[in-house]
Amino acid sequence: MAAKVVHLALFKEEQIDHAAEAISRLHELGISDRDISVISGIPYSERILGRPMSWTNIGRIGLAGAVLGFLVATFLNFGTPLLYPIRVAAMGLTPIPTSIVVTFELTMLGLLISTFIGVFVETISPSFGPKGYHPKISDGHIGILFSGPAQLDEKIHTALSELGAEVVHEVEEEKLWP
């Protein structure tokens, strides 16, 4: 396949209907969802734009963290007292009631920390699909990034302009994070 050029179509925030329409047009023009990426200043659900659902591992990472936290808590509760047994009051060496508190806290800590780590890792890990950015996005514009074959450029431009989009050619990948 020939080298694809990345375009960005910017819609004003009130033109959300047009943006959704534009995506359908692109689909019609044979540009698949894989080559389209929507960037926006506020979240629009996939439903609104007629896009396939995104997919993320955050839930699983969070769960894994929770399990890890639970295991650490179990070690602290039931392992460490055995390493150096010290009796306090008439409590057993590894009483259940107190261990529940520690277990809860550490499980939650594991869950929350790993959720964040999940976000972080997924954000900085390489993503596929067109990259590109325009500061207008944070001003509320809805940007549709897509890459299509060069021969379709004309058609696409016409179609998008009809919908009121401001089209940027050949958007450069911007280095937004070190």
Binding site: E13, S37, V38, I39, S40, G41, I42, P43, Y44, S45, E46, I48, L49, R51, M53, S54, T56, I58, G62, L76, N77, T80, P81, L83, Y84, I86, V88, M91, P95, T98, V101, V102, F104, E105, L106, M108, L109, L111, L112, I113, T115, F116, G118, V119, E122, T123, I124, S127, G129, K131, Y133, P135, I137, S138, D139, G140, G143, L176, W177, P178
Partner: protein, 480 residues
Amino acid sequence: MAAETNLLQAVKPAEHAEEDPREHLMFDPRPREEMNRMVMEAMTTTTRRYWIWLIALGLGVAVLLFGAWGNMILTGIGVAGVRRPIFWGVFIVTFVFWIGISHAGTFVSAILRVFKAEFRRPFTRAAELMTTFGLAAGALYPLIHLGRVWVFYWMIPYPNARWLWPNFRSPLVWDFLAITTYLLSSTIYLYLPLVPDLAMARDRTKGWRHTIYKLLALGWRGTEAEWYRLRKAINIFAFAIIPVMFSVHTIVSWDFAVGMVAGWHSTIFGPYFIVGAILSGVAAVVTILFVLRNTMKHFDYFIRVEHFDALGKLLLVFSMAWAYFFFNEYLLSWYGGDAAVKQVLTLHATGPAAWVWYTMLICNVAIPWLTLWNKTIRRTPWAMFIITLLINVGMYAERYTIIPLTLGHQRSPFDWGVYNPQWTEISIALGTLCLFMFLYLAASRLIPLVPVWEVQEGQMAHTLRKVGKAEVPSVTELEE
């Protein structure tokens, strides 16, 4: 503005003199660009007064907090007023106070988010910042009050040379774990929704700010995948942080409740502390919103009378809930007949420091109940400012009653004691107040205090729908 007002008047039917939906932020949309500009301006505008305050508070932190603390480390904890049998004093009172304040952010941000209370949108960040900084101020106290702070790390869960770990049966270790969890998670919870706004700020700044925002925005572009991840993470946090929040103050209450101290050993303490914490936290949010509204540019747009009104209602509910638990404590001890507990509770009201007890009741019950039912008062920001300050005075008095005053009147009258807070303690308590305000003041010019994207998202979902002759406010469910 004038044009809009006219427009509103034109639309407003004369016979419906009641509240206009456009008084609500959600029904008073502004273009994203304008809103960005307003927030950025608010963030970058610093007046002379601002710098004076910032420097004064910085000095306050240096002298009142670290100066007094340093002196106490060098001479001994005896410069504080603790004595037998009152081994915990102002430090622990203030600790509980700050941890209580820190419940506001989570409550406003997480609980209201989970229940989709739309009025929360403009001030979730302001509240979350309170959580983080309140915790930062509060978490100092377990260190400050230590007799030997230089060996504080012995409490951290790691083994010593003989493979002796800390005692996980001690509520103080639970405290350590809970506060660590809460501090980390609330900081992340502050940070996650901040990322899109940081990207916004990144796009509008140059120089050192740009560098910082670029770094912190993690390369945010706003792709669907990013939004999806963020939403997912925020959802996980919103649901998970609520039980953590409950656990934190419950564990703080267990510091007292698991003990043998008469007046502490009560199952009611967990919820009692949580309700008190939310009362004091929400009150502090109102206090801060008043200050923000009056000092920061454009904030009168974001923070509106409706917010004071809504938070006022919440405060009234929590004040009642607090009173309910307070009554519970007295009823049960009165009915149960444990002489020691009864004596402690009676002495709170009749002992040498009964004024603290009365302050607590007046500020926590009488004042909210007498004022907050009234819509006009709820919608008068300065009145709310004063009321919420008083509520926090009352909550401080509550903690003071629970800690030193209870410890001072235990089972053996021979060993009763009167606790006198000393200058060091007052200075350190004020010092952490300075720390909190300093951090808040600094943060107010470093991060966008209003979650622009959340406000925009909300405004998008809110419309005025014409039903017959009326324009009815309606909300579209855009989120899943």
